[in-house]
């Protein structure tokens, strides 16, 4: 399992490890949100579920998971350097550019929902989904750049 932390014989950089942790935390938290929501949907109509506490809890868990996960990985496999270099910044900018495009396009959905007067539930969930998709897209692009070239 720890092979994923290596590139050839070199342990991956601190910044790349951070991206893996962020991706895992974001997707796990959103997956947990969906499970918790769908678990309650059996007895209550979806839009009537009190979603706010679950949504805020899973967002908080994603943030906490990123921090704790990063610390845990550094304890298990300490990085050679904690310094961000020019390649990390180049890859970061590229990933954020893609994520920015995704969020720009994706926010059209919640915008339309607001215009047609949709329930707050659907608007909030559409925004959450767009944030998750942009986070995943940006992170995957960064990881591809780290692994396959940039």
């Amino acid at each position: 399992m720890s092979r994923i932390l290596y590139i050839g014989s070199a342990v991956m950089s601190y910044e790349e490890k951070g991206q893996w942790v962020y991706l895992a935390a974001t997707t796990t938290a959103y997956g947990a949100y969906l499970v918790l929501m769908l678990g309650r949907a059996g007895t209550t109509p979806l839009a009537e579920i009190e979603y706010q506490p679950i949504l805020l809890l899973t967002i908080g868990a994603a943030i906490a998971g990123s921090i704790i996960g990063r610390m845990a990985i550094e304890i298990v496999r300490p990085s050679e350097s904690y310094r961000e270099d020019v390649r990390d910044r180049d890859i970061g900018r590229f990933g954020e550019y893609v994520a920015g495009m995704v969020i720009g396009i994706g926010m059209v959905g919640p915008f339309i929902l607001a215009l047609i007067g949709a329930d707050h539930f659907w608007i909030a969930n559409a925004i959450y989904l767009v944030f998750v998709v942009q986070a995943v897209a940006g992170t995957v692009i960064k990881l591809l750049a780290y692994r396959r070239g940039f």
Partner: protein, 78 residues
């Protein structure tokens, strides 16, 4: 979308020709992480012009002794 660079290099050969300099030593001289030196050596990252000069300077050789580009290799230039 994400594609490796077409720039090739002789960093690995030059490191061995310069007292078997390690990737970590070269990274320290250039001011980057070892992972970045590995990525450049493997053609997965095209360094900036400034970094390319820093790498050439670390070996005390001209830039085109370190980096080559397909359309401008010495053979093609003749």
């Amino acid at each position: 979308m994400v594609r490796p660079t077409r720039v090739t290099n002789d960093i690995r050969r030059l490191r061995f020709a310069h007292g078997e300099m390690t990737q970590a030593e070269l990274a320290e001289r250039v001011g980057v992480t070892r992972q970045t030196i590995i990525a450049i050596e493997q053609g997965r990252y095209s360094p900036s012009l400034e970094m390319a000069f820093q790498i050439a300077s670390a070996f005390s050789v001209p830039l085109d002794d370190v980096f080559q580009y397909p359309a401008t290799t010495k053979e093609n230039a003749r």
